[in-house]
């Protein structure tokens, strides 16, 4: 492997300040995709549900799971009542 065959392309990471970092990777790769995905959303006000999401489950007054499209992320990032977004992380057995 040499520097000649590889290029590092940098960008500002400020677009996804509320999302867990593995999502940034996902979005980078599927930027134009309309694929839906499941996320966990923490909100600042109990009971608040962002209007653009399709709710899956209410875990607590401040926590819900929802289905969104990747482009919805930008709107959720801009929503002041959305505290943070958790993306699916694959689980393994503890054996």
């Amino acid at each position: 492997m040499t520097r000649k065959t590889l290029d590092l392309i940098k960008s500002s990471d400020s677009r996804f300040s509320k999302t867990e970092p593995n999502l940034a990777n996902l979005v980078q790769m599927k930027e134009r995709s309309e694929n839906s995905m499941a996320v966990t959303i923490k909100v600042a006000e109990p009971g608040y549900v962002p209007s653009i999401v399709d709710v899956r489950a209410h875990i607590s007054p401040n926590l819900l799971t929802a289905t969104i499209t990747e482009k919805d992320l930008h709107q959720l990032e801009a929503d002041p009542l959305v505290v943070s977004l958790g993306t699916p992380r694959r689980l393994h057995s503890a054996t």
Binding site: K10, D13, S17, N22, I59, V83, S84, H92
Partner: protein
């Protein structure tokens, strides 16, 4: 084709067939399970000069003692992890080590060890072995047809079974998967092939069936019950399909899929909803490595919220098996200095890989990536992300150097690597731009069957399963109850959490545990892991909740934890490893007695 001979650093003074296994393991290949060994294990025959010392080696699962040689050495058989062959061979008591055969104990070792057997529980206990409590199992492979999960009349003990991959319908929980109620399962059990009726295949040697049996099996099939044999069961099989769609570049689950964190939250909410006002404890023998390890992930916040929403609820999580995997590193970055995180990647490594590096919000680092031949690929500052593109315009590495995680305010560096990058030692150079504390922790994500690691020596602390670091969950490590000296299992992960709290909370027998084997109706299989320790604690909590329920007591999660903590056995031979056993080994009898005295 050009061929090149390369030397290896595999321990040369060892049986060539075992060397071959080590070499295969170094390339990410594993041994398959046989009738007597688990995947990743090998049966060996050994000549030892001290039988007691041999039997006390943590990794050794003894087989037969075949007798003595003329000079007093013993010939023995055992099963050992391939990953530990070198260490075992280097033990002073081992004269020689070759390939060999099996043997077996049962789940009654666990029951006796934690005083959960019926005759060991307090007399006049009102809990009736967990009666009235719902035990939720979130895992892969539910053999509802195994006799250990059926009543004497053959009907099911499952209140419900949610297969998240089943066909969705209008009444699917949260809109997906298939929920089978008790009547559906009982109807299936009438058929010659009940799995076909439900359209569900648990698979052979299923993890979930084994875990479920430890917590709640009634022993009707094999004669040995689990810890809370009178409790009711709700099982959730995590979705494979949902996860598969999220996995990049075609990487798939190697054997079984255990879902993801969003599915897990929904599974927990489903079980508690279904239990209603009944006492309920959920077992999660699943996990992952990467994350902040401070209890702030949303899945951990969700767990905390669920168990505090009502009394008589608990969630038990396996502490993880990463103590000896070399997947954690830590260090100090000084102002204007740097620290090289060295990541060892074998040649032809077939899996996608991830690292997370977490550090204080008070500091500012810069990341530089150096290839195995020492070439810098560039630098990533705080707040930047980057990707490395090859000559075919494919992204082969992705970096995110994220400022102020919204859940804890700390900074995190994430590195994602595509499969089959050049093997060797990759360096992540962390430079101190603005340093107040300088401390960092790094974790390599779990990579089944091809785990990469940091260059030794390894920091074995902070190796907990990420989702086991919450404030209200109960994390369980493993020890080996089949050994007279009760050693901690060599794999059982160590605390503390990154924010300095003690985890795991407890330890329980999780090494060489025999419990229900799926697709056999009555048989058992041996498994090891904190996966097997967690359900023992889950079962004990069911006994506590049943006792409390019968005495009209409602216990908060803090009370449940305190009862367990006050009843632990603390006489362990490795006091220096407190970070691995928390409050100590659980004792069901004392715990139930504590409820009686409330």
């Amino acid at each position: 084709m050009q061929l090149q001979l390369e030397s290896t650093d595999i321990f040369a003074d060892i049986d060539p067939r075992l060397q071959r296994l080590l070499e295969r393991k170094s390339r990410g290949m594993t041994t398959v399970a046989t009738a007597s060994t688990k995947a990743g294990e090998v049966a060996v025959i050994a000549k030892v000069n001290n039988l007691e010392e041999w039997q006390s080696i943590n990794e050794v699962y003894p087989g037969a003692d075949l007798g003595s040689t003329p000079i007093g050495e013993r010939i023995v058989t055992a099963r050992v992890p391939v990953s530990r062959l070198t260490q075992i061979k280097q033990s002073p008591c081992v004269v020689s080590l070759k390939a060999a055969q099996p043997l077996k104990p049962t789940l009654n070792v666990t029951l006796e060890e934690i005083a959960a057997r019926k005759d060991l529980l307090p007399q006049n206990a009102a809990g009736e072995q967990g009666h009235g409590v719902v035990i939720g199992i979130i895992d892969s492979g539910c053999d509802f047809a195994h006799k250990n999960f059926r009543h004497p009349d053959g009907s099911t003990r499952l209140l419900a079974f949610w297969n998240q991959d089943g066909d969705s319908s209008h009444d699917s929980p949260y809109g997906y998967g298939k929920e089978y109620k008790q009547d559906d399962i009982n109807q299936a059990l009438q058929a010659s092939n009940p799995y076909a009726v439900l359209g569900y295949e648990p698979g052979d040697g299923a993890h979930g069936t084994h875990v479920m049996d430890i917590a709640v099996g009634n022993g009707q099939g094999n004669g040995i019950p689990g810890v809370a044999p009178a409790s009711d069961i709700v099982f959730v099989q995590p979705s494979w399909r949902e996860v598969d769609s999220m996995v990049q570049n075609g990487e798939r689950a190697v054997q079984e899929c255990f879902g993801d964190t969003v599915l897990l939250l929904e599974a927990m909410a489903y079980i508690f909803d279904l239990a209603g006002d009944r006492p309920c404890v959920i077992n999660i023998s699943l996990g992952l490595n990467g994350g902040p390890h401070d209890g702030t992930t949303l899945v951990e916040q969700g767990i905390d919220a669920l168990v505090t929403a009502k009394p008589n609820r608990a969630i038990v999580i396996a502490a993880g098996n990463s103590y000896d995997t070399g997947t954690h590193a830590s260090g100090i970055v000084t102002q204007d200095g740097y620290f090289d995180l060295q990541w060892e990647i074998p040649k032809h490594n077939p899996r996608q890989k991830e690292i997370e590096v977490w550090y204080s919000a008070q500091d500012k680092f810069q990341l530089e990536i150096l290839t195995p031949d020492g070439i810098s690929l560039g630098q990533i500052s705080l707040g930047e992300s980057g990707q490395v593109i090859d000559h075919n315009d494919n992204t082969i590495m992705f970096f995110a150097h994220r400022k102020s995680d919204p859940n804890n305010g700390d900074h995190v560096i994430c590195v994602f690597m595509e499969p089959n990058l050049p093997g060797g030692i990759w360096k992540l150079r962390l430079s101190g731009v603005q340093v107040t504390h300088g401390k960092f922790h790094a974790w390599i994500e779990r990579e089944d069957e091809s785990q990469t690691c940091f260059v030794p020596p390894h920091d074995k602390t902070h190796t907990l399963n990420t989702i086991a670091c919450g404030y209200k969950s109960i994390a369980v490590g493993s020890y080996n109850a089949t050994k007279s000296n009760r050693p901690l299992s060599y794999f059982s992960s160590s605390g503390p959490t990154r924010d300095g709290r003690q985890k795991p909370d407890f330890i329980a027998p999780g090494h060489h545990v025999w419990a229900a084997n799926s697709r056999t109706v009555t048989q058992t299989i041996r498994m090891s892991g904190t996966s097997m320790a967690a359900p023992a604690v889950t079962g004990v909590i069911a006994l506590i909740l049943a006792e409390a329920h019968n005495r009209n007591l409602r216990l908060t999660i803090d009370q449940i934890r305190n009862i367990l903590a006050a009843s632990t056995q603390k006489n362990f031979p490795q006091p220096s490893e407190r970070e691995r056993y928390g409050c100590g080994a659980i004792d069901a009898s004392t715990a139930v007695l504590a409820v009686k005295s409330i």
